[in-house]
Symmetry: C3
Subunit: 140 residues, 3 copies
């Protein structure tokens, strides 16, 4: 069994934003030499997500409005008790649960085994600082 580990760093210049990281993950799959296996891609921070959906700017606007409805930004400790700690990112911990922490993708014949529109995104909900994504590939 082969394994390959990589930590990628992203610095999103806004509080919320989505970055297409498919090319970076494809590169790691190629570097790993794995032909048949699984790749795990996960946010290493708990106010960020990795998810798979469409690379379409209108949809990303929709996601931002929808997540703001589901868990509005509010730095007050009344809305989010988490903000009693002095942080202001209670909302981000909720948004990340909707969008998910991780994806697991099949590697077949040395490539991501993807449907026609699948793209991997890093989702940031408390940005403006460097944060990490883990890529772990196992297989043969």
């Amino acid at each position: 069994m082969k394994s390959h580990t990589k930590h990628l760093t992203f610095n999103v210049p806004a509080r919320m934003g989505f970055v297409n990281i498919t090319r970076e993950i494809e590169r790691e799959v190629a570097d790993s030499g794995v032909r048949e296996g699984l790749v795990l891609v996960n946010a290493m921070h708990i106010t960020a997500s990795v998810f798979i959906n469409d690379d379409e700017p209108g949809l990303h606007e929709d996601y931002k409005r929808w997540l703001e409805w589901l868990a509005p930004f509010d730095p007050s400790p009344e809305k989010y008790h988490h903000n009693r700690t002095g942080e202001d990112n209670g909302d981000a911990h909720h948004k990340r649960q909707i969008m998910g922490r991780e994806v697991v993708v099949a590697v077949t014949a040395g490539r991501l085994d993807f449907g026609p529109w699948e793209q991997i995104f890093y989702g940031e909900f408390d940005g403006r600082r460097p944060k990490r994504v883990l890529v772990k590939i196992i297989g043969e």
Copy 2:
């Protein structure tokens, strides 16, 4: 290490619907010859889900009403900017995020290592056409 890959196709005759695919996944596990390992099952389309829950029709009605509250169908480009592309499925991209893209299940002694009520479902949110599910099994 063994690996086994299968693409299954489903054509749900409604916009939204849930299909129990547990038997199909069990068959792939048997075909794979894997005794100890992991199976990944994921929707290959970004307006569909694979999830694990109860095979109970009342619950599935509840899920449909709840998802319609969380992300109502609305073909207008005002509600979903995604629909500016000419598509009408903005809602489906949101519903899929709630229900998830994939499940990873343990294979133990050659079988899905499941609790008493766990069943695997394909969740369709923009149906009436053939769409694919990937099954990838690795182990020994």
Copy 3:
């Protein structure tokens, strides 16, 4: 390839609650002897979750209020058709979809490959009885 399987049991004394199970999972990784691989941790019951987030009591209060807004407890069969079966846990099946069934975590150099704040939680939405969590580790 090595594999290691463990079923853990938790009995949460309230309807809803979160239990930090990171130490238990670390122990299983150590017992497995796996240095490079993946660990799957999933709820085996369909009214419970396994998720990764912050071990901060204010956040857990926030999650409880938020999940109650998204899917309120209501034993009546009007609110949840699932409760026509005689059960009263329709809400719990919804809360579990928001928080997720499972996490997959990388094992690197024999340890959980975690960011600074990542902790693994068992999330209970229909407690006061013993329920199980599966830990499956594969790798080398």
